[in-house]
């Protein structure tokens, strides 16, 4: 079961977002609500896993000079599939994700894992590595989205968590933290997640 490390490593000690600092662009932009974050995490996981699988199968046949172009073509083809699938089955979410689905192509996690892992390892290991990194990415997305949606809108997956009667409009004491919905808060939340994570994993700290 040495394969298991490929799956569990990226969840914490080698997390793609907060340790390898890859794929931040999309991680932050789609986290206003849980639902788009969940769909995005799933899409990235599928693309990473299959891009790793395909590139690992092709790894001995590609001259290294043109490998970037080949990788981009493979990834772009996979992303087109995902995009068409989302448009067909969850159209609302695909509208919310807007250009960020297309940006999975340029998501550094995928290129990064293909370059760093798939080009030197066997297909099955690479596939698991892809799934693991996708999961690690999705986990961070969901944590950020949890805080932003709970405090920004008072809901989770569009289900009301903070009761209506608490709000000032209904005679209560509470109002939503509006700034949570703005982009900068996503950055600050990720910064805090990194801080918490590194205070538990001292070996990751710099200097």
């Amino acid at each position: 079961m040495s394969n298991l490390k490929n799956l569990t490593g990226p969840l914490s000690s080698n997390n793609p977002v907060i340790v390898q600092i890859l794929g931040i662009c999309s991680a932050l932009a789609v986290t206003v609500k849980m639902e788009p974050a969940f769909v995005m995490g799933l899409s990235v996981m599928v693309v990473t896993a299959f891009a790793n699988l395909v590139m690992s199968l092709l790894r001995n046949g590609i001259p290294s000079r043109i490998r970037i172009i080949v990788q981009l073509v493979v990834i772009a083809a996979l992303v087109i599939l995902v995009d068409q699938f989302l448009k067909a089955f969850v159209y609302d979410v695909s509208k919310q994700l807007s250009v960020y689905v297309g940006l999975i192509i340029t998501n550094c996690i995928i290129m990064g894992r293909v370059e760093a892992y798939a080009l030197g390892n066997k297909p099955w290991d690479s596939f698991l590595d892809g799934i693991g990194n996708g999961l690690g990415y999705a986990a961070i997305l969901l944590i950020v989205a949890f805080f932003r949606e709970l405090f920004g809108s008072g809901t989770l997956f569009d289900i009301r968590i903070i009761p209506e009667s608490w709000y000032i409009a209904n005679g209560g004491f509470y109002s939503n933290v509006g700034i949570m919905l703005f982009p900068p808060m996503a950055l600050i939340i990720v910064g805090v997640i990194i801080w918490v994570h590194r205070s538990f994993n001292k070996d990751l700290q710099e200097k």
């Binding site: 907060i18 600092i21 890859l22 794929g23 931040i24 662009c25 999309s26 991680a27 932050l28 932009a29 970037i68 172009i69 981009l72 073509v73 772009a76 083809a77 992303v79 087109i80 995009d83 068409q84 807007s98 250009v99 297309g102 940006l103 192509i105 340029t106 998501n107 550094c108 290129m111 700034i179 703005f182 982009p183 900068p184 808060m185 996503a186 950055l187 600050i188 990720v190 910064g191 805090v192 990194i194 801080w195 918490v196 994570h197 590194r198 205070s199 001292k202 700290q205 710099e206 200097k207």
Partner: protein
């Protein structure tokens, strides 16, 4: 006037980094010294200035519905066509920089080829396509302006960030926050500062 609005809007209000988080990977990784940041910013701005109009032309005459052949909608090919244009263009820039400025080439290192997967550039082209549909960009000239503006916005962001990080080396930061942690929080604060621009009516 509309073109000028588009220009200012793309630099400040719709800033690639602070409003959309585009190009964050290289933004965090290369913003350790102002000099390198200036070089990468220039390269990104140049690539965006060229690829957004190129992709505009492709979008207008090949990909849009009924553009190439009557009754054929090729827009599902958008991603692959855009990325192919960007990747080949970056290859060109890489060769030029290697020839004429080897020192910059060594400094940028792996990040030069990675401009191809810099989300800011792909994002610029994809936003351009959205803005064509919504009517904000009309004609080749405006797409050039949008490309330049977005590139400059990214350049501005990374240089400011690098300047702040140079000063940060002398401050005492909690051990867990050093490096990326504090960089994220600073970017967030800068983003809040940039939000004042969204109050400006153009």
């Amino acid at each position: 006037m509309e073109t000028l609005n588009l220009f200012i809007r793309s630099i400040f209000i719709d800033n690639m980094v602070f409003a959309f988080f585009f190009g964050m990977c290289s933004y965090i990784a290369v913003s350790k010294s102002v000099k390198t940041a200036l070089g990468l910013g220039a390269a990104v701005t140049f690539v965006m200035t060229m690829t957004v109009p190129l992709n505009y032309l492709l979008n207008e005459y090949v990909l849009a519905p009924n553009a190439l052949v009557e009754g054929v909608d090729l827009s599902f090919l958008t991603f692959i066509v855009f990325i192919a244009v960007i990747a080949s263009f970056v290859q060109l820039v890489e060769m030029v920089v290697e020839k004429y400025s080897p020192s910059l080439y060594n400094q940028l290192g792996i990040f030069l080829p990675l401009i191809a997967v810099n989300c800011a550039i792909m994002g610029g082209s994809l936003f351009m396509q959205q803005k064509v549909v919504s009517g904000e960009i009309d004609g080749l000239w405006q797409s050039i302006v949008y490309g330049v503006g977005s590139g400059l916005g990214w350049w501005l962001a990374i240089v400011m960030m690098a300047a702040i990080r140079e000063r940060l080396q002398y401050s005492h930061i909690p051990a867990g926050l050093k490096g990326p942690g504090i960089a994220f929080i600073i970017t967030g604060l800068m983003g809040i500062a940039f939000m004042i621009f969204s109050g400006i009516k153009l």
